[in-house]
Symmetry: C2
Subunit: 351 residues, 2 copies
């Protein structure tokens, strides 16, 4: 069956509607014609279901691919993903975010689409806003948002992107203490033995240096200082630092301090227990509940703080998600705006 290449579209006649649309839901019927995208046509050409005519010549597969690659940005990427989805038995239609995918057993005209698939190359950094926009449109229409990343060898990794509201079970106990602490180079030490143990056991704050002394991280210290539980002294002068002075000093040590602190505070407000995620290369590992000296449970989430103008390097994102998932944790990216913190869950899925 012969169809025609016209600019960046393919057009077939009534026969195409009968044989191609009605049999496999390729393309979109418009009156007596069937319109196909370049990607759909490439797949049908490879499957030898159509012949594509341009200027009264029938195109070879290689020639059509070269032409399509010139006429549509990232044509090959989209073709690779389209072919993969089709060969896994999904019906696929174009959409504003590359593809609409129907659920297994469903097809156009019978069921609504289940997922929107957004295709990116691993090579091209992805600004956060490029992710948020399709995420908002898909969640507005209650669809699943899927990011398909094509690597340099044309392997595809699928990620499901979701907004989530993490919640924990840790009661907000503010111990009725006020105790002295000192900021050394980049950590804070609580000197008094019973306060050290109370903070550690009631809130899983810090780490015991020994039986008597507690070390706190900068975000933990700022949080306890803000809540009047510790008083932080300068190690040289012994002078007390207020929250603003402490934050300023912490920001000199750790440029990302303010953003991290906002997320730390938000997680604590959600009754979660954030601890450092250094071993996983993220800002926090997060527990639903933790009460040492009882056994500390598995931490379900890793949280990494990112600003609104963040740009994902996709190999770095891939590594973060892969590591999190390999230790049975969710990888959440915490986006801080002026007033709120939003959590975006990026997880590998099999299609």
């Amino acid at each position: 069956m012969i169809v025609k290449l016209i600019e960046d579209k393919i057009q077939g006649g009534k026969e195409a509607i009968n044989e191609i649309y009605n049999m496999g839901y390729y393309g979109r019927p418009k009156g007596n014609t069937l319109e196909l995208t370049l990607v759909e046509a490439a797949y049908l050409l490879y499957r030898k279901k159509i012949d594509i005519e341009l200027d009264k010549h029938i195109l070879e597969f290689a020639d059509f691919i070269k032409i399509a690659s010139r006429r549509q940005p990232y044509f090959e990427l989209k073709y690779i993903v389209y072919k993969d989805l089709r060969e896994r038995g999904f019906y696929v239609q174009p959409s504003v975010v590359d593809f609409r995918v129907y659920p297994r057993g469903g097809h156009p005209g019978k069921t609504p689409a289940k997922s929107f698939v957004y295709v990116r190359s691993e090579r091209i950094p992805m600004p956060l806003r490029d992710l948020i926009k399709p995420l908002n449109s898909t969640s507005n229409v209650r669809k699943q948002m899927i990011l398909a990343i094509v690597d340099e060898e044309s392997d595809i990794t699928f990620y499901e992107i979701k907004k989530v509201e993490p919640k924990g079970n840790m009661e907000m106990l503010y111990p009725h203490i006020t105790t002295d602490a000192t900021i050394l180079h980049d950590r804070v030490i609580v000197w008094e033995s019973s306060s050290s143990n109370t903070l550690y056991e009631q809130g899983f704050y810090g780490k015991l240096l020994d039986l008597e002394h507690l070390q706190l991280s900068l975000v933990e210290s700022a949080y306890l200082l803000e809540n009047n539980i510790i008083k932080v002294h300068d190690r040289e002068t012994g002078d007390l630092l207020n929250f603003e002075e402490f934050s300023k000093r912490a920001s000199e040590i750790e440029p990302e301090f303010v953003g991290k602190y906002k997320v730390y505070e938000d997680l604590r407000n959600r009754h979660l227990v954030p601890k450092t995620g250094f071993k996983f290369g993220t800002h926090f590992r997060v527990y639903s509940q933790a009460r040492p000296p009882k056994k500390i449970p598995h931490s379900e989430n890793l949280v990494h703080t990112i600003p609104q103008d963040y740009e994902f390097a996709l190999p770095v994102m891939s590594r973060a998600v892969r590591l999190a998932n390999s230790v049975r944790k969710r990888m959440l990216f915490a986006v801080q705006s002026e007033k709120t913190v939003e959590y975006i869950d990026i997880g590998r899925i099999k299609m």
Copy 2:
């Protein structure tokens, strides 16, 4: 027993030699005096083995820590690691790279030290040369080099650092073919069916797009072009690109191309099979041997290319190594100089 704080050293007398050095190998005897570092003294003070005198006053633990923290850069970090090693039963002495650690059952005067331990804070980026220098000195004296990274909550992760010479078993088959290929946006397609299959099966080059066409990554294409196995055409003009033209174009697509290519070529020369490591967030996953359509074995190594002036962000290094080790692979950093490629293996260890 009273010892004296003098600048950044602690001095004890004969009694100290008998009770502290002879019993636990703390400090270094010099004639009738025993010299201790601030770190050793802090640990002995915490263990209540010594009293430390300054200006005729005996110091409290908290006061000594504050003073030591002012007198020695990163005193707390070194104290945390020293205390940890001692409590695991190791004898520890100072060395040019922070600590010399004796093997289990060994001690100063009986056995040589086994390892050199280099202490860093996760917060402070580590230039590659800061790692290479102690690595060279330790391997010159045939010691193990250990990097101890202290995170913001004072947890320690130990890494063993080694130079390695990876070797594979993949015969260097250059198939006797020369076949046409086209560079599309950022990948190359081989059009001819039998060449596609030969390249894939004999060298595990590329990925089959379908039964007839092979997609190659940019580094694979450059390697095959350099060895006259493929001819690469421009998709617009059909003109042939030579190796230099191709490299130039690849570098525009992928700024790290030249470095990656050098390492790719070196790995192939070592009879290894490098494939993209995107799913692990690294440049390459590397097989000892791979002959599709036979089952592809486990890839033992991940390789990431870094320039000589590279600076490790330690949380990023932590994530890379953790992920590699969690999937039973070695994490190798390939350092390219003008002529050679050196491989540094960074692996987590338990002390």
